[in-house]
């Protein structure tokens, strides 16, 4: 693997960039691996990377049915934060945040992690209290959090409509200064390049069509490129968790829904912070290229189409124009959707399954991008050690049966409500 540096850049510029090597190979699958990771999204690739880096396991293949990073990793609104209230989430996402902070160097790949701050706006006193409660929990867990009252919100985001007679006036906001965004595609590419550099095979256009099990133990997978045996298999397929798990006879507490996002035409910088709302559904940031990137609520029904529909977009945009009146005349350039794995309590699963040697990583709802580094890190640990790390020991499948759900929103087993 060529290291990217000032020198390599300069050298390559002189040769008109004709000497850059492939960032990753495109090998054919070998008949057998120690570990197979199903899903070449950020989580799968990060898992492979940390299996090699932290656990010295390199006889690993990542099997991706399409192109790497083409799942939700490639279509999310790139918000990174660790502003959770409940303990298991808080510690896990804060670990992720710390990994984000060193990721560009670790991967020798600039993932453009931009800690421009994430604000959650409150529109009523109870909402202020709720954010206060969350922020206090964060602080006591050692995570950065600040409360901004209306004036400070206005100062930080001058283009917000903070008038007191607004339909849903802004009463303040919970700010996580270390939150921000990262260049989503680069995260997948950086991990892929890193894993490949450790000799891991990343195999694209290879769909897993079956999971082989003998005597309660996983033995390999069937794929569109032939069967492959493996001692251990990890599933990291996000929106597809349901039917991949079904290949192993498992039924999950997960529903797949579509979450939509959109970008506007690019404009010169007007928004330097990530802003999310407590009235209606909207989160918005401005990318380095100048587009406003927005997401909102899921469409609210099971689907695998990755398409989405207009009414939700209308609602997201109406919210945006309401709170940012100067967005009105800007134009939406593209809308898209991603299939998200909504769990029954809004929290993820990183755990062993009833099948020996088969591991699950899923249930990310619409917030798994920020989890990418930690998810890979603890999933690699769980696979390598065949037991969870303390950071993911709560993210089990049996937590519902045991009554230990991790329900930040308190909405209960109604996936569309999380």
């Amino acid at each position: 693997m060529t290291r990217y540096s000032i020198f390599s850049l300069a050298r390559n510029a002189l040769s008109h960039h004709e000497g850059w090597p492939e960032a990753w190979r495109s090998p054919d699958p070998k008949p057998s691996y120690d570990v197979i990771i199903i899903g070449g999204g950020g989580h799968g690739l990060a898992t492979a990377y940390y299996l090699a880096k932290e656990h010295g396991i390199t006889n690993v293949a990542v099997l991706e049915k399409g192109w790497l990073g083409g799942g939700n990793t490639g279509r999310n609104t790139t918000i990174v934060r660790s502003n959770y209230e409940l303990e298991p989430n808080a510690h896990f996402y804060e670990h992720s945040m710390k990994l984000w902070e060193g990721l560009t160097r670790d991967l020798n790949f600039n993932i453009m992690f931009s800690q421009r701050g994430v604000i959650n706006l409150a529109h009523s006193d109870p909402q202020v209290d709720a954010y206060m409660r969350r922020g206090n929990a964060m602080r006591l867990n050692g995570i950065d959090a600040e409360f901004l009252d209306r004036e400070h919100v206005q100062a930080k985001v001058p283009i917000l409509d903070c008038s007191t007679d607004a339909r849903f006036p802004i009463m303040g906001g919970l700010l996580q200064p270390r939150g921000g965004t990262a260049r989503h595609d680069a995260v997948a590419w950086g991990y892929a390049r890193g894993a490949d550099g450790h000799g891991i095979d990343i195999i694209q256009n290879c769909e897993v069509t079956g999971i082989s099990i003998e005597d309660g133990r996983v033995t390999g997978v069937a794929t569109t490129r032939g069967p492959i045996t493996a001692k251990k298999v990890g599933m990291a397929v996000a929106g597809h968790s349901g039917h991949v798990a079904a290949m192993a006879g498992l039924r999950l507490p997960i529903e797949s829904h579509v979450l939509q996002a959109l970008v506007t035409e690019p404009v010169k910088p007007i928004l330097d912070t990530v802003v999310t709302f407590g009235a209606g559904h909207l989160y918005v940031s401005q990318s380095d290229k100048g587009e406003l990137v927005m997401g909102g609520d899921i469409d609210g029904y099971n689907t695998y189409t990755q398409r989405g529909n207009l009414p939700i977009i209308e609602h997201v945009v109406a919210t945006a124009v309401t709170f940012f009146p100067i967005f009105s005349r800007l134009r939406v350039m593209r809308t898209w959707g991603g299939t998200v794995d909504m769990s029954m309590d809004g929290s993820p699963f990183i755990c062993k399954t009833p099948v020996d040697g088969l591991y699950l990583n899923g249930g990310w709802c619409y917030g798994g991008f920020k989890a990418t580094p930690a998810s890979g890190w603890v999933f690699a640990h769980t696979i390598a050690q065949d037991q969870p790390h303390s950071l993911n020991q709560a993210f089990t499948l049996d937590r519902f049966a045991l009554g230990h759900t991790i329900d930040e929103k308190g909405m209960g087993p109604v996936p569309k409500a999380h």
């Binding site: 990217y4 960039h17 206060m132 929990a137 006591l140 035409e265 945009v317 919210t319 100067i326 809308t335």
Partner: protein, 1002 residues
């Protein structure tokens, strides 16, 4: 004509007699009615219009329609300013102001162009490879990079215009009003189908306005006018102009953005600027036309390089010469028609450079007949010029197109017309889940099999002759009508057109190799500044999937979504991978097909109308009384009523104290109210609530708690028995909708055998709480048909009667813990009763109180609300464990035995008081045992409600604390690092006032 050196005195469909003035980059210009900004700029001789996205290269006008990638301007100024507008889509109006964007200080001298100097350092992926050292500097770099990117600027003021939505339904929606679309409309319209025809231009006819030969012996435009007249006369036909169909969704749902008033300086009064149509069509005809494309060659982006069809449009439609001397570079026959028209318009055509070694088809005869030189088997390999084109270099091309032979020949020219073939506009077909397929003969993607009820016609389908487009349209329109149920629909006869003769095959040519030694940029995507070298580099680095290519280079990610750049990009990628174009495939087509303003998508549901407001019957009174309002779901509730000179807390405490010492009244209409009737009502309540209902007497009410199926508390409230089989349930304001849906689910789906009818009566009844020691006295003055004595109407009793002359219901319930009542009257009398109560209570100094006082009162009484009912607490956590009946089944019961729910360490409801008796307990605090413990400090509980109790004259709070009920008297710490607060608190019983309930039973 002085100011318009490139305008012909006659021709086109502009109004030569109506001159319009406009300003571009501070300079005044003239154009004519019917012009676009682009045609007017060209007429005035303005070449350099914009700077490119990444390298800030000078750019001119490249196209004549929606596909324009380069000429993006900042249109208008002030509150109506708009960035990134295609000059080719702006209809000129008098006084128009536009400016170049993405350049400083000017489009002619742009410091940003310095970026081009370092561009060699900046291939795609540059950012990923750099800015890593020193790590801390990325934010600084990012700051600079952000400023360089971004093109136009957003307005600084709110938008003064209005935007509308409308739903529409039709049998056939026809997208595009060119020859194919109009004939489809005629066919479907004559069959009697309800149709909508949408075209994004200011008038129908599509390319007929610019390029077609005669139809039925008359100029094509006249045929279009006759067709439009026929359609207009049909009662079931809706023609929509300036309307872009931008989204094709499920079940033939299509979205249109109509530009109602963008062609005016400003909209007329009450006129929307733009309108969003949401159409449900049984059948769709896509007659969206085709887009011409260019070639990749060195410096193929200079101002003066233009699509041949665009130059033709400027000549024929706008009477504008896009240059003085032009060279045409083509690989197909269509450019010959353009060359002939340009020559006729007075542009000197220096040569036609045809990549094909053989002869062109008969369509070339007219152009070649005028003596235009033709170089067969040649290509333009490079261009010259500073800010604009001055010459092109031409060389012979070998058979495979990958190397040049012979010597370079130079043609001086200020216009290069390129025609690299045509891309049918398959976007909407693809949005409708169709999969475009690659057609080798056309070297383009054409529609594949349809998934939804849609078909393409005309050049959108790859039919490029006029006669073919007309025939296609007629057939598609008739077919669509038949499919929509008009079985007798016939295909009308196709009007007669000139025989265009058999076209000579095109030569698929994507990129032209540069002359040896010339290292210049060769653009694939003009808008995003992606070059051939970029594409090749990406594939070399492993970004081989077309989707990786797109994301690594940004190919096709601009405002034009790669309209002109994508297919050449695919071709270059295919070649560098040694693959075919179909193997490489396309990226995903997504809405919107053309960019749509956020305002149009938002419609009128913005600002104060973002969501409807729900108001109680007394809302008007509250407003007049100067109440501050707080949103509660969609409701607005009075928060407090400050008297003149009174501060917020003064008002709140005054209201609170009044309730405990005399009497207050509060609007509680927002609580959910559900009328329950039927023989099985009691059984239903038994199943819904954790407690038992069979024994509740008529005229009595009871507090109930209901669970979700997972055993967690869903809601609470009182339910009253009004008659034998008649109950009234109340819910919290927040959960009213959810509870109603939940109950309907169980009644309709799970227990349809129960004879129970429920209906929401929240809106029927105005509800007023009357609370305080004097409340009975006030009540006595309001009603004379109910005995309100304690004996006749004890706590938790219900009566019907008349209040201030209005029939209603009286509930003796108490949220505040005082002697209290709630009166319900039909909402039309709500304000009357409210005023009557104020009157009746005057001598007791009756005080209206808002949600703040209500919150303090209930906290003093330990009643739970949102902070406690947080979706994670069980009934037992909240102290209702003993209410749960063991003798019956109820929703959620089966989940209660899960270990996590029976854990004795669960967080339980407790009261909290400051250990020092005076320090306020911070709202939203977390509770710990040791405030000095290093982080992370384990939190054993949280403060769910906190306030100062003006009645107890001490701060109080409610919290949920691990094993809290066993901690009575313990000292814990409420920490709010967010507010820098830390308060020692003592755990107490959550009922602070009158734990025995003597007041409310008084």
């Amino acid at each position: 004509m002085n100011g318009q050196p490139f305008r012909n005195a006659e021709g086109g469909i502009i109004d030569h007699d109506r001159s319009l003035g406009f300003t571009f980059n501070g300079r005044r210009h003239q154009g004519f009615a019917g012009d676009t900004l682009a045609s007017a700029l060209l007429a005035s001789g303005v070449r350099r219009v914009a700077r490119s996205f990444k390298y800030h290269r000078p750019r001119g006008i490249f196209a004549a329609g929606e596909e324009e990638p380069s000429a993006l301007v900042q249109l208008r100024i002030g509150a109506r300013t708009e960035p990134n507008v295609r000059a080719t889509r702006v209809e000129l109006f008098d006084g128009l102001v536009a400016n170049s964007q993405n350049c400083w200080p000017s489009v002619d001298f742009d410091l940003g162009a310095g970026a081009a100097w370092v561009s060699r350092l900046m291939p795609p992926g540059f950012y990923y490879k750099t800015f890593k050292w020193p790590g801390l500097l990325w934010p600084a770099y990012e700051h600079v990079l952000r400023k360089l990117a971004g093109m136009g600027v957003a307005p600084r003021q709110a938008d003064p215009d209005r935007y509308e939505h409308r739903f529409a339904h039709c049998d056939v929606l026809i997208v595009g009003g060119g020859p194919a679309g109009l004939s489809a409309a005629i066919a479907a319209g004559r069959a009697g189908a309800r149709i909508i025809v949408a075209d994004d231009g200011p008038e129908f006819g599509g390319s007929l306005a610019a390029e077609a030969g005669p139809i039925d012996g008359a100029p094509a435009r006249e045929w279009a006018a006759v067709a439009v007249a026929e359609l207009t006369a049909m009662p079931y036909v809706t023609l929509v102009r300036r309307a872009s169909v931008f989204g094709y969704y499920d079940h033939n749902g299509l979205a249109i953005s109509e530009h109602v008033a963008d062609h005016l300086a400003e909209p007329l009064p009450f006129q929307p600027r733009q309108r969003l149509w949401m159409v449900r069509a049984r059948q769709v005809v896509l007659a969206t036309g085709a887009t011409e494309r260019s070639f990749v060659f060195a410096d193929n982006d200079r101002p003066g390089i233009m699509l041949a069809s665009a130059a033709r449009t400027y000549a024929n439609r706008f009477a504008v010469r896009a240059g003085r001397r032009c060279v045409v570079f083509t690989n197909n026959d269509s450019a010959y028609g353009a060359a002939a028209d340009l020559a006729a318009a007075g542009i000197e055509v220096a040569a036609v450079i045809d990549a094909r070694p053989g002869d062109p088809g008969p369509a070339a005869a007219k152009a070649l007949g005028t003596g235009i030189e033709r170089l067969a088997g040649h290509a333009v390999v490079a261009t010259r010029g500073g800010g604009a084109l001055t010459a092109v270099e031409v060389a012979p091309l070998n058979e495979s197109g990958d190397s040049l032979g012979g010597s370079l020949r130079r043609f001086d020219c200020d216009l290069l017309c390129v025609s690299g073939g045509w891309n049918p506009a398959v976007q909407l077909h693809a949005q409708a889940q169709g999969r475009p397929v690659y057609d080798d003969t056309l070297a383009a993607f054409v529609p594949g099999p349809s998934v939804q009820a849609e078909r393409s016609a005309g050049s959108a389908k790859g039919t490029f002759t006029l006669a073919g487009c007309l025939a296609d349209g007629m057939e598609a329109g008739a077919e669509a009508a038949r499919q929509a149920g008009f079985e007798a629909a016939e295909t009308p006869p196709v009007p007669a057109c000139e025989d265009e003769g058999e076209a000579a095959p095109m030569r698929a040519l994507w990129s032209v190799p540069p002359p040896p030694g010339l290292r210049r940029k060769r653009f694939v995507d003009l808008q995003t500044d992606v070059t051939q070298a970029d594409v090749e580099l990406a594939s070399r680095e492993g970004y081989k999937s077309v989707e990786h290519l797109k994301r690594y280079t940004t190919l096709g990610m601009g405002t034009d979504q790669g309209r002109t750049g994508n297919v050449p990009g695919l071709a270059v990628l295919a070649r560098s991978l040694g693959a075919d174009i179909p193997q490489v495939g396309t990226t995903t087509f997504r809405p919107p097909y053309v960019p749509v303003t956020m305002a149009t998508l938002a419609g009128r549901e913005i600002g104060h109308h973002f969501q409807p407001v729900r108001r109680s019957a007394m809302h008007g009174w509250h407003e007049t009384a100067g109440a501050a309002f707080v949103p509660a779901g969609l409701w607005l509730r009075p928060q407090f009523y400050a008297r003149p000179g009174e501060g917020l807390w003064d008002a709140i405490y005054r209201e609170t104290v009044a309730v405990r010492t005399s009497v207050g009244l509060c609007d509680v209409s927002t609580l959910g109210k559900i009328d329950i009737q039927g023989a099985d009502s009691a059984e239903f309540l038994n199943r819904v609530y954790i407690n038992a209902w069979s024994k509740l007497g008529i005229g009595r009410c009871r507090y109930g708690v209901m669970l979700r199926e997972d055993g967690i508390t869903l809601d609470d409230g009182t339910t009253s028995r009004l008659a034998r089989n008649h109950y009234l349930m109340t819910t919290t304001t927040a959960n009213a909708g959810a509870v109603m849906g939940h109950l309907e689910y169980f009644l309709q789906v799970v227990w349809p055998e129960l004879d129970v009818h429920i209906i929401s009566v929240t809106e029927e009844w105005a509800a007023i709480a009357l609370a305080g020691p004097d409340s009975r006295k006030v009540l006595e003055r309001l009603t004379d048909d109910i005995d309100v004595s304690n004996e006749a109407l004890p706590f938790m009793g219900v009566r019907e009667g008349t209040f201030a002359g209005v029939p209603g219901r009286l509930f003796r319930i108490s949220f505040s813990g005082e002697l209290a009542y709630e009166i319900n009257v039909p909402a039309d009398y709500g304000q009357h009763l409210w005023e009557a109560m104020l009157e009746a209570g005057k001598e007791f100094d009756i005080t209206p109180y808002g949600t703040e006082a209500l919150g303090i009162l209930r906290t003093e009484k330990g009643h739970v609300v949102g902070g406690e009912l947080n979706g994670r607490t069980t009934a037992d956590d909240l102290g209702f464990g003993r209410m749960a009946s063991s003798a019956k089944e109820f929703i959620g019961k089966r989940s209660l035995n899960r270990p996590g729910l029976t854990d004795e360490n669960r967080k339980q409801l407790v009261g909290l008081v400051p250990a020092d008796g005076k320090t306020a307990i911070p709202r939203g605090a977390q509770i710990v045992t040791d405030p000095d413990q290093a982080l992370p400090n384990p939190m054993i509980g949280e403060v769910t409600s906190a306030c100062y109790s003006p009645n107890l004259e001490t701060p109080i709070g409610l919290g949920i604390v691990a094993a809290g009920r066993a901690r009575m008297g313990e000292t814990l710490y409420a920490l709010s690092p967010m507010r820098g607060k830390r308060v020692a608190v003592t755990v107490t019983n959550p009922v602070f006032i009158d734990p025995e309930g003597e007041r409310l039973r008084a």
